[in-house]
């Protein structure tokens, strides 16, 4: 019993001092051809891990972004741990070794005046779960931010 507890305690403290190789991410945005005012954002990964999640959102509710052409994954644990409570619109992708590219479209219903005068900063969290030998899952979270140019 005591052995188990010491082992767990060592794991929990030790895992913090472990840095895994995280994949390299490039993000770019472009206009979509189909709809005149939507922006397509594409995320590319190199060095893909076996299992990972990508969470994208804008913390600012006033930018009123709507996400299209995307199928949201429903992993509740990831959402509850990593998504701030006040963010209602977001995109969550689940990936594996075979997928290296994700894209989604966004449109804003905020006024042109607002978009032109306020920076839009998007948060992207690359979450890689790590759970060796059935131990409780520990996540490594690479946290990126990027800007999207409004379409004017």
């Amino acid at each position: 019993m005591l052995l188990l507890i010491t082992f767990l305690a060592c794991y929990i403290f030790g895992i913090r001092f472990f840095i895994i190789d995280t994949p390299k991410i490039t993000i770019y945005s472009s206009n979509t051809v189909s709809k005149i005012d939507s922006i397509r954002t594409t995320i590319n990964l190199e060095n893909i891990p076996g299992e990972y999640y990508i969470l994208v959102y804008d913390e600012n509710p006033e930018s009123k972004w709507r996400y299209y052409n995307v199928q949201n994954d429903l992993n509740r644990e990831i959402i509850n741990t990593f998504l701030p409570a006040n963010v209602k619109e977001y995109v969550l992708f689940e990936g594996n070794k075979n997928i290296s590219k994700f894209s989604f479209d966004i449109i804003s219903t905020a006024t042109v005046n607002y978009l032109n005068n306020n920076k839009t900063v998007f948060h992207l969290q690359l979450i890689i779960p790590y759970s060796p030998f059935m131990l409780p899952t520990f996540y490594f979270n690479s946290y990126y931010t990027f800007n999207i140019e409004p379409l004017l």
Binding site: M1, I5, L8, I12, I15, R16, F17, I19, T22, I25, I36, D37, T81, F82, V112, N113, N116, N117, N118, K119, V121, H123, Q125, I127, P136, T137, F138, Y139, F140, N141, S142, Y143, Y144, T145, N147, E149, P150, L151, L152
Partner: protein, 541 residues
């Protein structure tokens, strides 16, 4: 996991009660159980967790005579449960993190601050005066540890890297510009997480991130000043945090437009733009590529600044139609024989006569010809009251009031190239609203409101209008198909529409700069680009 452990502990103790029975006692099991559960009771007193139950049971234990060993272990278990319930991971780790940070930054000798991003780092400034170092130490010491139980955040956003030199060695701190999961300071090789509310401001005092104005010297006489905060912040962000292209490939001749970025401190940055504003060269650092929105905006501002100095501004007549010159001579307004009232008449050349269409309030009223058989009559009742009527020539008695008793700006009435839809601006005390009519049987649709000055059709789907917003003059283009404003350009001066034809608009900008009168003529195309036009051009026809 903690609750699991507590349950296991309690069950283990309960299981051991019968085995450790030594002396005979009435209700032994019940007494042991009560020892166990009452010792688990605790309360929080002035922020400190007090194992109230255990203390009470301890007093009872002292007087109790039998099975002391078992009962003592029950009390200890109760205290254990209290301990586990009231503490969690954070209470352990937080002081450890704080201590680690404090120890590592003791005996500061120098702090270097660099800009930090995943692709680029640049030295900004360093701190080595002992008094300044003390201030930085105090701020760093105030970082709040933010431990997380089940994940670790590795920052990859734009921010700063601080290299802390102490007598014992060098430490690195990454400070992020945005708050990432409640943290913004990451200490050391293992990114130990903290939140610091003052460090970013401290860095910004030395090295601000909000430029005041970008001054571009387009020519010896002409300067463009850009003060839109979003544009300037984005430009500075690119200068500080993005990859630079090598200076080796740099050819000075390609970068001919000098510019200077001013801050409200002594900080400044000299850049040289390429002729199309797609790139800029920063001395000693390299070449940056500017994002599409940025260089198209800058190139447009550059085009709009191409104005000539004049002695007097020209006056332009308002334009109302976007089609070929509308032969309006068939319709006219004149008083009747007695001069008592006015009427709208159509000239009948066949009979050498005129046909009365509708009564009109004054000679200042205007008529505009739509696609046959419709006409618009802007009936001016007084200086600030007019009616806007739709008249069917074939049944002139049945007119339709589009607007009644409002202040409609007569210069603003404009008709689309197909002669079917029209727009106008209505003034209501301080606010003017631009209305669009595409269905004669429905009420006009408001497109925009504010300080709207003039409007005209660019094409059948695009409406161009000028607006004054927060002191700036803007040229906006609204797409009636998607119901959105698709262009929004700052105009250096006052804008006057001169002509609209063939999906183009000819306009003039008049500006007073340093006591000089400057005027320029430009064309807005239906792809929303703006080009310079000859100064003497007054018609697109």
């Amino acid at each position: 996991m903690k609750s699991f452990y507590v349950i296991v502990l309690i069950l283990k103790q309960i299981w051991s009660i019968p085995t450790k029975h030594k002396d005979f006692e009435h209700m032994y099991v019940l007494k042991c159980l009560s020892y166990l559960f009452i010792s688990s009771i605790y309360s929080i007193f002035i922020g400190v967790t007090v194992p109230l139950g255990a203390i009470i049971m301890l007093f009872i234990f002292v007087v109790d005579k039998h099975n002391k060993r078992v009962k003592f272990s029950m009390i200890l278990t109760g205290v254990m449960v209290v301990f586990l319930s009231s503490t969690n991971f954070s209470t352990f780790i937080t002081p450890i993190y704080s201590l680690y940070l404090e120890n590592s930054i003791d005996n500061l000798t120098r702090i270097e601050v660099h800009s930090y991003s995943t692709t680029y780092e640049q030295f900004l400034f360093d701190v080595y005066e002992p008094q300044e170092l003390q201030k930085w130490y105090d701020i760093l010491e105030n970082s709040e540890p933010i431990p997380t139980w089940n994940y670790k955040t590795v920052p990859k956003s734009n921010g700063y890297k601080l290299t802390i030199h102490t007598l014992d060695g060098i430490q690195t701190i990454i400070l992020s510009n945005t708050i990432l999961n409640n943290k913004n300071l990451f200490f050391g090789d293992y990114y130990i997480p903290f939140y610091n509310s003052q460090l970013l401001d401290m860095i910004h005092k030395e090295h601000p991130v909000n430029p005041e104005v970008l001054t571009i010297n387009v020519s010896t006489e002409s300067i463009i000043n850009i003060s839109n905060a979003t544009i300037l912040d984005t430009l500075w962000e690119i200068i500080i945090w993005s990859d630079k292209e090598d200076i080796d490939n740099f050819v000075q001749d390609n970068f001919t437009i000098p510019a200077y970025l001013f801050f409200d401190t002594n900080l400044g940055c000299r850049l040289f733009f390429s002729y199309d504003f797609k790139q800029a060269y920063i001395e000693d650092q390299g070449v940056i590529s500017l994002p599409t929105q940025f260089h198209s905006m800058m190139y447009e501002q550059f085009t709009l600044s191409q104005q000539s100095i004049v002695n007097k501004f020209r006056q332009f007549t308002p334009i109302h139609t976007s089609a070929q010159v509308n032969n309006n001579t068939n319709f006219y307004i004149e008083p009747n024989e007695n001069g008592l009232f006015f009427g709208l008449y159509r000239a009948d050349y066949i009979n050498q006569d005129k046909i009365f269409l509708h009564s009109v309030e004054s000679l200042e009223s205007q008529v505009f010809v739509l696609k046959s058989p419709y006409l618009i009559l802007l009936d001016q009742k007084s200086a600030s009251l007019s009616d806007l009527l739709l008249i069917n020539q074939n049944i002139p008695e049945s007119h339709r009031y589009v607007v009644k008793n409002q202040n409609i700006l007569s210069h603003s009435v404009a008709i689309c190239p197909q002669n079917t839809n029209f727009i106008y601006i209505e003034n209501n005390q301080d606010i003017s609203t631009l209305f669009y009519v595409n269905n004669y049987y429905q009420s006009p649709k408001p497109i925009a409101s504010g300080a709207i000055k003039d409007c005209v059709f660019l094409s059948d789907n695009l409406v161009a209008f000028t607006q004054k917003l927060q002191g700036d003059n803007l040229l906006c283009v609204y797409d009636t198909q998607i119901n959105k404003i698709v262009k929004y350009t700052h105009i250096p001066g006052e804008l006057y529409f001169i002509d609209s034809y063939n999906n183009q608009i000819l306009f003039a900008i008049q500006n007073i700069e340093n006591l000089d009168l400057k005027e320029g003529i430009f064309i807005l195309n239906s792809d929303l680009s703006i080009i310079s036009a000859d100064f003497n051009k007054t018609s697109l026809y």
